[in-house]
Amino acid sequence: MPAELSPFTWPIAALLLAVSPVLAKAQIDYADTWQLALIEAEDGDTLRLPAGTFQLTESLLVDGIDDLVIMGAGRDQTILQFSGQQACAEGLKVTNCDRATLRDFAIFDTAGDAIKTQSCKGISFINVETSWSGAPEESNGSYGLYPVQCSDVLIDGCRARGASDAGIYVGQSDKVIVRNCHAIENVAGIEIENTTDADVYDNLAEGNTGGILVFDLPGLVKKAGGHVRIHDNRVHANNLDNFAPKGNIVAQVPAGTGVMVLATSDVDIYGNDITAHRTASVAVVSYYVTELPIADAEYAPIPRDVRVRDNRIERDRAWPSTKHQVGKLLALKFRRNPPPIIYDGITQGIIDGGGAPVGTWGLCVSGNGVDMANLDLGRGRKHLERNPRGFECVGEGLTKMGGR
């Protein structure tokens, strides 16, 4: 039988806490009570978190409970504050819980990731906030909302701020919806990594280093992502200086990136409002631009079948970020007016053919009303140019490589 976990004591205790700051010690007992409830939970149980701000020093963990609900009183009402966390890195970790729902609470200032969910078939985050307060800093935790190796993931109406990697990060998962979310002042606002069947829409990503990223990385158990749609999002002024710890892949994302595809194939980017990015409004690149070694024979480093169509893209004249090679190249070649859509121009055909124009480009563009640049990194930039021919989307497919 589904059960509410101690539903009656919370309002009374919350009231006591609200009126009496000297009861701070009681909040530690809250943490223990919640953790014990999660240890003893049965399938179908609901853990209610009352309104209030609660200081926690250790992660809350739950494992192996199906149809679990963890529910607060609202993401601006129930705030779990983890500043000064000593042991364990996460705020909340949910593992092997199928059809779990996390809703209506906020997690602040964890040492590591705010909410990690792993190996859950069916996981919903609804009206949840994960934030690091203060200025964005390298010492902030890596991920806000972090489902990994999950399927049937719904992230709806959530807010993520200040993550030193990605505010909303979906890794090695399948069947994912991210919608109605607000990602602000993270390194990556929303990142979809080695993930299949992801639909990302009606979100607002603003003030991050990069707004929305779709990445495939080598050396992972889930080898390839793809079949990803990024549409009807507002992606605005993601020009924040990159504050990721070096060594992480997102540390390579240049400030001023709107939407970026790294190595992932079958990505459809349409109907978005992408404005005010100083480096690249949309960038589509292979893993080779990272200049990192690839020791994974099953990994495909080159994106194919990426469509960028019917987006509203605007940028004012501004110098691209020159902290990374691609930005330097853009600044050198285009100064303050780089084309908003950037493609590295590396295809398997070019690599196999020793530079000869063979095969199909990985990218098509249409209806965006702005310029595109092929950096032609696969052929030593010989044909680096603005608005090259042969990249127009035709129907749902891709054009063959053009005359060059």
């Binding site: 223990d32 953790q35 014990l36 999660l38 240890i39 003893e40 963990l61 739950v62 494992d63 192996g64 966390q85 000593q86 042991a87 364990c88 890195a89 593992t95 092997n96 040492a111 590591g112 990731d113 792993q118 190996s119 390298e138 010492s139 935790g141 890596s142 991920y143 972090y146 990994v148 190796q149 030193s164 990697d165 990060y169 890794g171 090695q172 990385l217 080598p218 050396g219 992972l220 158990v221 710890p245 070096k246 060594g247 992480n248 892949i249 990272t290 990192l292 070694p293 020791a295 994974d296």
Partner: protein
Amino acid sequence: MKYFAILVTALAILLLPSASYDKERALSHLSEYGFFEGNIADLQPATGVRPYTLNTPLFSDHASKARFIYVPEDSTLGWQDREVLDMPLGTVLIKNFYYPVDARHPDLGRRLVETRLLKHTDQGWKAWGYWWNDAQTDADYKPLGGKADVDFVDAQGKTRHIAYESPNQIQCKSCHSYEGAMRPIGPSVRQLHGGAHSYVSEWVDSGLLAGAPSGKTDWPSMDWRADNITPELAARAYLDANCGYCHRHEGPASTSGLMLAWHYPTGPETGVRKSPVAAGKGSGALTYDIDPGHADKSILYYRMASDKAAVRMPEVGRSVADEEGLAVVRAWIESM
């Protein structure tokens, strides 16, 4: 008669499901299990409870461990070449964590801190933690885990202070996890054979361990302190025992793509020139998990040496670094 049959059927329907869904519960006190005879703190095993040691143990903040296994009468353990041995229902692994007052003088006594039980039930393996009282007369069930400040003198005569912390019941599974289910980690053939005493030989001879390949006794052994062991094998043994339960395809750290269990050949998958995936500040601003020849440029070494939450590895079960483990891993990386 007809009504009686209906009544019986109804009762059966009512009672059966509740009976079959009864979770096996932990007992309140360690003493209730009867694993030890006499003064419980002396850890004298009762009949059917057998001591064992592992060749390459997990580092747990310098705690010493006294391990026992209880196998129900008339049951046997089953052979596994690589994984932990098959253990029948009812098996209990009993691990006692303690600190000597002075490791150079065992006669000065010890302080038992906690005892962890892993029991094989018909609902899978269950982990139950018991916390010893100050009088050392018993240990109480403590699913939230416990904390204690411990001071002791180590084998080199160095006084150490440990802010000891035991995992809560769910954290047990952050290590004891195989394809999402709880499972023991330690008692494999390579951990039990060799060293000063082969428990594999003992248990095969006594009939406790069945299914050993016939005509062979050159079973695998993995002892990081074995004579003449190469730097690579010493380090890989240490990493297997301390990281490999999680860093393998069947473990939670499979997300990282870094595999450190014994059976993965040294290469990119075990960290050599491998870039991190989701390390965050755990990267230490370094590029590779293992940068051959450079321990100080290797994320693996950096995280082993750290005591900070969100950086240190393993995440659970230690608050201080293991100097001896670090030295072995450094020697290996520098030798590459």
